[in-house]
């Protein structure tokens, strides 16, 4: 292997591809989306604040008040702490008039048989959304619970009944240590963020190995390849392409991270980092290793496959097969969320083509058995030389067969012989 030539090829691939419109658009897409989100946010912020306030202010003295018609008699007189925010009406006609006059936003009408049925009617001029909010509002729940239990139990118990569970999740790992997370949402974030992070990385693997495929097919189609292989060994050419385009993929990831940082003033990144902070560092280190191994494996195979097709389109069709393998974890994601260590997931972690993405998805979701990490790494490390050999052979053979795709028999003969 002549590394000087590898370097020349890598440099050439990097510099010619970074100027391609496709790469620039793809790379600019993330910052552009960020910019759009920022502009839309700035434009809609006043309205958004209004909506937010009206939703949050059912029992807020500053906001509009809520009316009450109590046919059951359980809720009148209103407890002192609610008197400021609640207007009591004698009957529905008066309440309706108040809603129409915009004195109150909604009116809760408690039925006579409330104790048996729990029936409460909401009068509103707004959308059904208001009613849905009422049903789910913690303040309204507390209002009902407080009045139902008033005088019967002590205030502390009353409060607990209104909000019985303050959730904290502790994941027990095989190592004995536990990791704490506050709240259910923190828990969800803790795997959603890495999940999408993994998805993004998989995307960069595919864009850059896609360029590799495209480049090889192009060199073949334009017949420049014979001149190239008369100067460089196919292995050197392939290595140069893999390194150059790997650097290109990395550039893309860095631009994305940089732009997210720039546009959001770090807020989005902080969110990602803070939720990511709940994940042990080893997950990140391992994910990075899987990223590199995954890229190498896919890029080498793509180079081989790219050389097989007679035209760019044919090469891309052949390469589609690999994407299917890589995307397998995403197709299984609903099962994976439920049980990241299920048998199929473990089996796919041992298979080289699915191992990188499967492990990148599984790692943040659960405490993956060490044996899975070790086996999948060994499988990958072992399959990269195999991919180098296989990709190299296909590459070498495919490069010089013009105008047609070799038959399976021809491929077999070449792979077996010299």
């Amino acid at each position: 292997m002549n590394w000087r030539k590898v370097w020349i090829v890598a440099r050439h691939e990097y510099l010619t591809n970074i100027r391609k419109p496709g790469f620039i658009i793809m790379t600019a897409l993330v910052p552009a989306l960020g910019l759009i989100a920022l502009l839309v946010g700035a434009f809609l912020a006043p309205q958004a604040r209004q909506i937010g306030e009206s939703l949050a202010s059912f029992f807020d003295t500053a906001g509009k008040r809520v009316g009450l018609v109590d046919h059951s008699g359980r809720f009148t007189p209103v407890l002192p702490e609610y008197q400021e925010t609640l207007v009591v009406y004698e009957d529905e006609a008066a309440a309706e008039a108040a809603v129409r006059a915009d004195e109150v936003q909604i009116v809760l009408v408690v039925a006579e048989d409330y104790m048996q049925t729990g029936r409460v009617t909401v009068l509103t001029r707004g959308s059904g959304f208001d009613a849905a909010v009422v049903e789910d509002s913690p303040s309204i729940r507390s209002f009902f619970i407080d009045h139902l239990l008033a005088g019967e139990v002590d205030p502390e118990l009353r409060e607990r009944v209104a909000d019985p569970v303050e959730l904290e999740v502790r994941m027990l790992t095989s190592g004995g240590e536990s990791r704490g997370m506050s709240g259910g949402w923190g828990f969800v974030f803790s795997f959603l963020v890495p999940y999408f992070l993994a998805l993004f990385l998989v995307m960069t693997i595919f864009t850059s190995s896609g360029y590799l495929l495209q480049g090889v097919a192009e060199e073949k189609e334009s017949r420049v390849v014979e001149i190239i292989v008369s100067s460089v060994r196919p292995m050197e050419l392939m290595a140069g392409k893999v390194l150059g385009l790997g650097a290109l993929g990395l550039t893309q990831v860095l631009v994305w991270i940089g732009s997210v940082w720039g546009f959001s003033g770090g807020a989005v990144l902080m969110l990602a980092v803070s939720s990511a902070a709940m994940i042990p560092a080893r997950v990140f280190v391992l994910a990075a290793v899987y990223y590199v191994l995954g890229f190498l494996l896919y890029a080498l195979l793509m180079a081989g496959v790219g050389a097989l097709g007679a035209t760019m389109r044919e090469s891309q069709q052949l390469a589609g097969l690999f994407s299917l393998f890589a995307m397998a974890p995403y197709m299984l994601s609903s099962f994976l969320f439920a049980n990241p260590n299920m048998g199929l997931a473990r089996a796919l972690s041992y298979f080289p083509l699915t191992a990188p993405t499967m492990m990148m998805v599984r790692l943040p979701l659960a405490d993956v058995p060490w044996i899975d990490v070790v086996v999948s790494m060994l499988v990958l490390v072992a399959s990269i030389p195999a991919a180098l050999w296989l990709g190299g052979k296909l590459f070498q053979m495919g490069l010089l067969i013009y105008g047609k795709r070799p038959t399976l028999r021809e491929v077999w003969v070449i792979l077996r012989g010299k």
């Binding site: 020349i8 090829v9 014979e226 001149i227 190239i228 008369s230 100067s231 021809e410 003969v413």
Partner: protein, 296 residues
């Protein structure tokens, strides 16, 4: 000796492409590698360029293995093309760098060569903007940009108009004068006759004709003379037949008669001779004769 090929064999599956082929190319000569389509020329060339590995036999280029000699050899493949979206100069510099030339040197050489083939004004244009003839010239230049000792040209005249054929021919002769070794593979026999010192004719993977062009032509020359004269007497001793041939006469001679004896006889009869020559044979005829004779 610039190239030595010994007992070279290469097969693709059941097809034998090169069959125990041996030949040598000497320093500074223009060597013709000839043969019908599918004879094994391109396979032989690809092995000399280290693109393919032989199944048997050995090849030395400049006394080394093809892999080691790569950077001293320039190659214009039959199936050729260039990066369509790259600029002309950029393309040449990249190709030269792959042959081990420093970027600065590569730029200088590339510009000088572009000047020579009248493409200097196009150096910053993309390859796809060039006309076909320009692209062919550029490809030719691309095989020279690293200043190789040996140049292998596979069908360099294919698809060229007469003006560009002359240009390329001129360039090859110039390289020859500079002392470069050129291996030329082509179907255009008139150009082989004009350019080559020695030839190898391959058919079905085997060498069927090998040596100095002049000697081969002598060897295949018919036992005849070509005479241009206003008229010929009816019976000339030693002449078996006399056929008109393009404003002259083609005289086939009896086996034991030499051209000199015929000339003497003609002079003795006071024939007004304008031209007298031993009848030549076009290389094309030899090619066709040898290939169809052994072609089964």
């Amino acid at each position: 000796m610039v190239i030595q090929v010994q007992d070279l064999s290469k097969r693709y599956g059941d097809v034998v492409a090169v069959d125990h082929l041996s030949f040598e190319v000497e320093r500074g000569e223009v060597f013709g590698l000839l043969g019908p389509n599918g004879a094994g020329k391109t396979t032989t060339i690809r092995i000399m360029m280290d693109i393919l590995q032989p199944d048997g036999g050995q090849v030395w280029v400049l006394g080394r293995s093809p892999g080691e000699a790569k950077e001293q050899v320039g190659y214009l493949p039959e199936e050729r093309g260039l990066y369509r979206n790259l600029k002309v100069l950029e393309t040449l510099v990249y190709l030269a760098q792959l042959k081990g030339v420093e970027r600065g040197t590569a730029r200088e050489r590339a510009m000088a060569l572009l000047e020579q083939v009248e493409l200097a004004d196009w150096a910053q244009r993309r390859v796809r903007d060039l006309s076909r003839g320009m692209q062919q010239r550029l490809q030719f230049v691309a095989s020279l940009v690293h200043d190789p000792q040996v140049l292998i040209l596979d069908e360099p005249f294919q698809g060229l108009d007469p003006v560009n054929v002359e240009r390329i021919k001129h360039l090859i002769l110039q390289l020859h004068r500079e002392g470069k070794t050129v291996i030329l593979s082509t179907h255009q026999m008139n150009l082989v006759e004009a350019l080559c010192d020695r030839i190898l004719l391959i058919n079905r993977g085997r060498g069927v004709l090998y040596g100095h062009l002049k000697e081969i032509k002598k060897q295949y020359a018919p036992h005849a003379v070509r005479v241009r004269a206003p008229s010929l007497p009816p019976h000339i001793p030693g002449v078996v037949s006399a056929e008109p041939d393009d404003g002259a006469f083609f005289l086939s001679l009896a086996e034991d008669v030499s051209p000199r004896q015929v000339l003497k006889a003609l002079l003795a009869r006071d024939v007004e001779i304008e031209v007298f020559e031993v009848a030549p044979v076009p290389l094309e005829d030899i090619f066709v004769a040898v290939v169809s004779e052994r072609g089964e």
